[in-house]
Amino acid sequence: MPDPVSSQSVDQRAASVISARGLDLTFQTADGPVQALRDVNLEIGKGEFVSFIGPSGCGKTTFLRVIAALEHPTGGQITVNGMTPDEARKSRAYGYVFQAAGLYPWRTIEKNIKLPLEIMGFDAAEQDRRVKNVLQLVDLEGFGKKFPWQLSGGMQQRASIARALAFDADILLMDEPFGALDEIVRDHLNEQLLQLWARTEKTIGFVTHSIPEAVYLSTKIVVMSPRPGRITDVIESDLPRERPLDIRDTPEFLAIAHRVREGLRAGHAYDD
């Protein structure tokens, strides 16, 4: 098994936005302790697009939640923007996108995007300005006054991304955001997400269980395996940043996809 840390260059670590060292997390459940994360070491640099891939139970979502301070590690260290995750959250370091769009049904799209802005105390004029801005960013102009149920699943997920972008966090954490959508919509959203990433220069952490999705989107792919949740491989992608959808048929793309698959197999992820 390659050491994930040694495969990183030193200057990248210096600029790292998220840094995990020997991270452990054990849940106490009724059936006894469950080790969700064991000895996770990872550096994520500014502006990187990092995908976490692995079968269910591998801890990819848990790791994302640790970054977001929604779970707290039982061992090891993690810093986000050089702070603890809790401090980072209070300084609005990240926007989080859940698997379900999670728009509040009693609020219009506009009001949903305003939700974090209201909580964080932006004034009304600034709220309007930002809503207009992010609606444009996710290509939803003109839908601000609609209620969530009036939008398709893909549009709802875009609105949810707009909500996460509204308060200008540097980091975007996405937990299988397109997992519930069909393949065609998903391709389209993947393309749009890459464009959005290029324009906003955010650091993105992206959980997925789709190999093509991970390879297509990422500059770095973190392969994880279950029981206990751990990192088995970290793959630096050398694909160009400009990625048309048909890049997925090139040998370079297939080579990376192959390595991801190998990594998953090495972690016995196909056992069950």
């Binding site: 379900a100 999670g102 974090p116 909580i119 209620f147």
Partner: protein
């Protein structure tokens, strides 16, 4: 908006729609009503016939079977009044009788009018419902936010509903009507004697109506999913912000469901409260005097009036619910 949202009110399609509505909803409803009326008439004849037969024997009358049936349907004090008797009574005591009458030089409510009694029952019902709803929401908020309250209040709330209201209503009436503060207020002329009678009624009504609100609101305030709450956490939202922006709006559909149960319970509470108070006015008082004097028709018409009141209140709440939920963007 678009043309598609304008309903087709005219044209050949609307006629077909009407036929569809009649055969789809109205016909079954009418059939059920007809069946109930038929069973009711059958029951009346069977239960009242004994008295008619008894009269025939005592007075040595000769009656055909049809005459016996007709008599059983039109007795003055039947065991079970027939529908037309009840509705004739309802008509007489709401439309024919004046609502107000002159007495001792002033215009006062007419106790022969059923609407007058309905008013005396509805007023404390709405008051008690308001107090009960407010208390219920307050308790639910406490229960959801404090583990101590969750453990301590809920069992008491449940226990309070297992006590038969008929048993404690007289106690509440006696205690409340002897409250020094209340008697003082009457003596000082702040409230009238009639208003004083309203207090125990409203209290018992709120006692019955707070419970559905507590149960519904606790469920409603806890209805947001884990991911909805997680979203709030990612914004570092305070408990207050989570309450106002997530828990409370999410609980609104639950609130309306429990309000409909609660207002019916409030009405029952008021009527029960009227029984031991010796109240002269109110639907409960009407039921009581009816049973004292064997006026079964009066009892039944009072019962119908109570049912009409309950239905009207529930329909009113339903309309309010529709308006509120529509403004909250619920899919029509």
């Amino acid at each position: 908006m678009s043309d598609a949202t304008v309903p087709a009110m005219f044209g050949p399609k609307s006629a077909a729609r009407w036929v569809g509505a009649v055969s789809g909803a109205v016909l079954p409803v009418m059939a059920v009503v007809a069946a109930i009326v038929a069973i009711w008439y059958g029951g009346s004849v069977m239960m009242n016939r004994a008295w008619t037969l008894d009269q025939i024997e005592r007075r040595g009358l000769e009656m055909t079977a049809m005459e016996i049936v007709a008599d059983a349907m039109n007795q003055e004090r039947p065991v079970l009044p027939t529908p037309h008797q009840v509705f004739a009574e309802l008509w007489d005591t709401t439309v024919v009788e004046p609502v107000m009458r002159e007495r001792r030089g002033t215009l006062q409510g007419n106790p022969r009018n059923l609407l007058f009694h309905a008013y005396h029952t509805l007023w404390p019902t709405i008051l008690g419902f308001g107090v009960g709803t407010f208390l219920g929401i307050l308790l639910a908020v406490g229960i959801v936010h404090s583990r101590a309250m969750d453990m301590s209040v809920m069992p008491w709330a449940i226990a309070s509903q297992t006590i038969p209201i008929l048993a404690i209503a007289p106690i509440i009436v006696v205690v409340v009507s002897n409250l020094p503060a209340l008697n003082n207020a009457v003596d000082q002329g702040w409230i009238s004697e009639d208003t004083k009678l309203l207090v125990p009624k409203a209290l018992i009504s709120s006692y019955l109506s707070f419970f559905p609100v507590v149960v519904g609101m606790v469920a409603g305030l806890r209805s947001p999913q884990v991911s909805d709450l997680d979203l709030m956490r990612t914004y570092s939202a305070s408990r207050g912000q989570t309450f106002w922006k997530l828990r409370l709006p999410a609980s609104v559909p639950f609130l309306f469901t429990s309000l409909k149960v609660s207002i019916a319970a409030a009405l029952v509470g008021t009527i029960v409260a009227e029984l031991p108070t010796g109240a002269r006015f109110g639907l409960g008082a009407r039921l009581l005097t009816g049973s004292y004097y064997g006026q079964t028709i009066q009892i039944w018409s009072a019962l119908f009036m109570a049912a009409i009141c309950a239905a009207a209140l529930v329909i009113l709440l339903g309309a309010l619910e529709k308006i509120v939920l529509k403004r909250m963007g619920v899919r029509p």
